[in-house]
């Protein structure tokens, strides 16, 4: 019986524990804390954080417990991540809950959503320069797209080994948008620019809203066919929403489907960060590049807005450019907050939704382009 006790003890987490597991568990708890106490993207940080705990319980190999073991429950649930199935399903739900009205009312603001994607490609170049292979560099660059599902999808297709660090980096920075963006926004704009008010948006008709997902899907996917899974589902979800007659399907998409998938995606992405796999110098470089990518994307959006103002009769508030990174809807809210710091009667939120959402489309297209070039 003694031998059994000893044998058992040797298989407990206390005996098997690696310092890296402890670090990751600690990070997981921080994620949970930020989600719950600070309300930073709780729907993502809490599942990822708890997933980190689950993935870093030290387990003996062979029983089928770890996420990287073939027959474990976590492995089955992780399948949707590695095969890129979850991200399109999440996009389906996002489509079914997003109102594209502001974008339809002021289409010129879409360009800001395009400009911010420059960050993706600049980071891609940086990652190449740091010695990453092209497929890895592309996956790192997409962090600047500020769109979790897109980042996971592209990484699953191009560099599956990096899913853990890239997903965690992407979601961390998305959660930290209220911390990262304001200084850059204030640095690159003058007070006078930040005070610019936007004119009221026109009312958009139902027909425009129905036609939009169809056209934008066809146009973008003819241009970049590899954006099909993400953009297709985004537009499909939006069509289900706007068609009204398919309301019950839209409800399913934006409740049970997206919520179930968010739980599974968050948890398994978190669990994929096993200490020994995750805590590498590579991950650290990814985190640094990711932060840069985010910053550059924000800067590109802001600067492009200023360039646009050189040509536009009716000036736009360059703060809106920062919303082009996506990170829906946090970066749009940051624009609102920063704008109101100068003038509390300036309401930029609705206008910021336009670059914000077009940033989602933009990064999906960028992901499609990178995917098709890399494989």
């Amino acid at each position: 019986m003694e031998t059994l006790f000893i044998e058992f003890f040797q298989n407990t987490g206390f005996a098997l524990c690696d310092y890296r597991n402890i670090i990751m568990i600690f990070i997981g708890i921080i994620f949970i804390y930020l989600g719950i106490a600070k309300h930073y993207e709780p729907l993502l940080l809490v599942p990822i954080g708890f997933g980190m705990l689950m993935g870093n319980i030290p387990v003996f190999q062979g029983l089928g417990l770890g996420i990287y073991e073939d027959n474990s429950v976590l492995h089955y649930l992780y399948f949707g991540v590695t095969q890129g199935i979850y991200p399109p399903l999440i996009f389906l739900g996002i489509g079914a809950m997003t109102d594209f009205s502001t974008l339809l009312a002021r289409p010129v603001l879409m360009l800001l959503g395009a400009a911010a994607q420059t960050g993706i490609f600049i980071t891609f170049l940086g990652a190449l320069a740091l010695g990453f292979a092209p497929n890895e560099a592309a996956s790192i660059g997409i962090i600047g797209g500020a769109d979790g599902p897109t980042a996971i999808f592209l990484t699953a297709k191009l560099a599956p080994k990096l899913i853990g660090p890239i997903a965690v980096a992407a979601y961390s920075y998305m959660a930290l948008v209220p911390v990262i963006q304001p200084p850059i926004m204030k640095l690159l704009t003058t007070r006078k620019e930040r005070l610019i008010k936007m004119e009221e948006l026109r009312k958009v008709s139902k027909k425009e809203k129905i036609i939009f997902p169809i056209i934008s899907f066809l146009l973008c996917c003819f241009l970049a066919p590899a954006a099909l899974p993400l953009l297709g589902m985004l537009c499909f979800g939006n069509l289900l929403k706007e068609a009204v007659v398919t309301e019950r399907l839209a409800i399913a998409a934006r409740t049970s489907i997206i919520d179930s998938v968010t739980i599974l995606l968050g948890m398994t992405v978190g669990a994929s960060t096993q200490g020994n796999v995750f805590l590498t110098t590579e991950s650290i470089r990814i985190f640094i590049l990711g932060a840069l990518s985010f910053g550059i994307a924000t800067a590109c959006g802001l600067l492009f807005a200023k360039i646009m103002n050189l040509f536009l009769k009716e000036k736009i508030n360059p703060l809106l450019g920062a919303a082009g990174v996506s990170a829906v809807p946090d970066s749009a809210r940051v624009v609102q907050v920063v704008g109101q710091q100068e003038d509390p009667t300036n309401f930029l939120l609705m206008h910021a939704m336009a670059p914000n959402i077009s940033g989602v489309i933009g990064s999906a297209v960028a992901a499609g382009v990178l995917w098709s070039f890399m494989s």
């Binding site: 289409p107 010129v108 994607q117 190449l128 320069a129 560099a137 973008c220 489309i361």
Partner: protein, 142 residues
């Protein structure tokens, strides 16, 4: 391999340039399309509207007035309305008919028929019927 050499070797500049160009092309095209869309739709709508004014409105109004309600009819309609109020918003015509019979209304079939023709009772397209209050007020409660 590191630095600029790595970028060159992996065709980095070209990929980035092409990539960002495509993203812009896509969103620019889309934004142009959208900005024209509502003008186009307005035209289309107006075309229809104009047609409607000349055609459908006429036929519709004629169609409705074609049902003549005598005072007796109106009286029965009022009674039927009282029954309808006891039912759910979407009601079954057969149930209404049965209730009307039960309460001893005269010629319930023909009366219901009139209300249907006049558009006071309207199908809800789900197999049930609803009471068109506006029409009721316009025709009966005048």
């Amino acid at each position: 391999m590191y630095g600029l050499q790595a970028i060159l070797e992996n065709n980095g500049w070209a990929i980035s340039a092409v990539g960002i160009t495509i993203v812009f092309t896509g969103l620019v095209l889309l934004s142009i399309f959208i900005s024209q869309l509502h003008k186009f739709l307005d035209l289309w709508e107006n075309k229809k509207e104009i047609k409607k004014i000349f055609k459908k409105e006429k036929t519709k109004s004629i169609k409705r007035i074609s049902v003549l309600f005598t005072e007796t009819h109106k009286d029965t309609a009022q009674k039927i309305y009282l029954i309808v109020q006891t039912m759910e918003k979407s009601f079954s015509l057969s149930k209404l008919l049965w209730l009307a019979k039960t309460r001893g209304l005269e010629r319930p079939h023909s009366n219901l028929n009139n209300l249907l023709k006049a558009g006071i009772i309207m199908p809800d397209n789900k197999g049930y019927y609803i009471w068109n209050m506006d029409m009721f007020k316009k025709i009966i409660r005048t």
